[in-house]
Amino acid sequence: MSHRAQRQQAGIADVIVIGAGHSGLAMSRALSLRSIDHVVLERGEVANSWRTERWDSLRLLTPNWMSRLPGYRYDGNDPDGYMTVAEVVEFVAGYAARIAAPVITRTAVTQVERVADGYRVSTTRGDWLCRALVLASGAFNVPAIPRLADGIPPDVTQLTAQRYRNPSQIDDGAVLVVGASATGLQLAQEIRQSGRQVMLAVGEHVRMPRVYRGRDVQWWMLASGILDQRIEDTDDPLRARRVPSPQLVGTPERATLDLNALQAQGVEIAGRLAGVRDGKALFSGSLRNVCALADLKMNRLLDAFDEWADENGITAEVGPAERYAPTDVGPSPRLDCELGKEIKTIVWATGFKPDYSWLQVPAFDRRGNLKHDRGIVGAPGLYVLGLPYLRRRKSSFIHGAGDDVLELSAHLAGHLDLTARRHVPGMATG
């Protein structure tokens, strides 16, 4: 495509939504209901990250009955099961079709700049102009890899969770999985089951049973109101948004996946990966404490569930209260291991960051994080969706999009009304 063609005007819309995942589509539906002119730009196909950036065995961490979007819900015959990646793709694509979302696929946004009354959105297929812009491009675009990765010897293969598909990708020999969120634990388990020795470096983490008192832990989180907690009611919003995903896995057996379960399967746990020196990975001596923190926090959560069950008179409907064995750290966790000789592969399960490298708008803080107040970015008519704890604890969940979109689409409509009124009649931009 020539330079001239790239700068071609592709179109004008009142609103552009970037990203046709569940959040962007839910916003599209809300805008359609308000008869607001918009398009959804998608770099690949609907639910692109699910199609291209997930490992083979992944299933949703929430049960099927929780998979619901405004005007749409799971209606299969396994409400307590967990969707596979293919099923998530089908679910989200089905939503796009159901709501007849105006999605323009295979159109990657390359740059966004502020222009009078709105934004110019440059894409691989021409430029768009809009008055309001919704960033729904996801929270998990680029792997967050610690800087100490630079010191890893070259004979050790490094792999991110984004690139990982299954154990057949990995050389024979021992594997170090770094990170103890849902991702790290799931990959450690799967790689261990493939017959390899696995070490897991464990920093701060969130421990939860899959099923508590006979109900999915996500049922408890939702029913007791925890998932609806608002960001403005948290003591420390920045920290709330940084909490790693709980150690959960969706399996047909509804099995709990925690550090005790992994150790029983032969995975060795060590502290947070704290450094690399002389070809050795050095692990923090804080393993006992991070496990104690997670155990205490889990017990406070279970206490809250029990209290809520008592207050709401459902104690008889659910099983008896349970408490779980503290995390077993063993007598002396390893403080180092040989890289290369011992560990052949490192899998980084250290989280993700959103990618806004194309957003040329002064809306970032000192550390390069997008500044926003519950999804309302500090630039006129600019919104963001689907980030962890954006407005509520459930904001990054599929079922969390509905409430956020309801509120943000109302704000967006207000912005369009306000800016339209400022224009001289007949001069309104598209």
């Binding site: 701060e204 502290g271 704290a274 450094g275 020196r277 050095l282 923090s284 001596g285 804080s286 404490n289 991070v290 104690a292 923190l293 205490l296 017990n299 406070r300 002396s332 000192r366």
Partner: protein, 188 residues
Amino acid sequence: MNTQERTVDNGVNVEALLGAREALTEAPEAAAFKWRATSEWVSGTHSRTTVDGFFGLGDEQKHRQTFQFDVDHPEIFAAEDNGATPVEFILVGLAGCLSAGIASVAQNRNIQLRSVKATLEAGMDLQGILGIDDAVRNGFDGIQVHYEIDADATQDEIAALVAQSQKRSAVFDVVTNPTDVTVTTSKA
């Protein structure tokens, strides 16, 4: 249990700490501190370390007074025992840091402390520093800390105080994680 009305006073100015946190979020350069000590050898294994000034909040700062610490080794090391051993000072630092954290976290969580007693023990195999066995490290093979705390709180709340204090402790971090150390020399 922790009612709003109850006045908890652990002698910690939590408002000042939270204010500092907010101020230093806005002005990260002021958060860059330098801690300093000078040391002079006295005789044998005896040396004296002086702590006086430090850098922080963008400026040179001074303690209210100069503190001096005699460091030595016990008589069974054929030394004069003029002060605690260097490794014992590590325990001093760890206990001081964790206890300060416990008081601060308790204040922030509205928990009145009545007593906080720590017992610390660190294992060390002298075959390391004496060069008898290369497989033995010079330093501690582990540190055990036990806190006995009397407070208006449940056992789990007390455990959570101590856990949170470790999470935010500088000395805990220094002893549990690698630190790059540069030692240079000059001829006087």
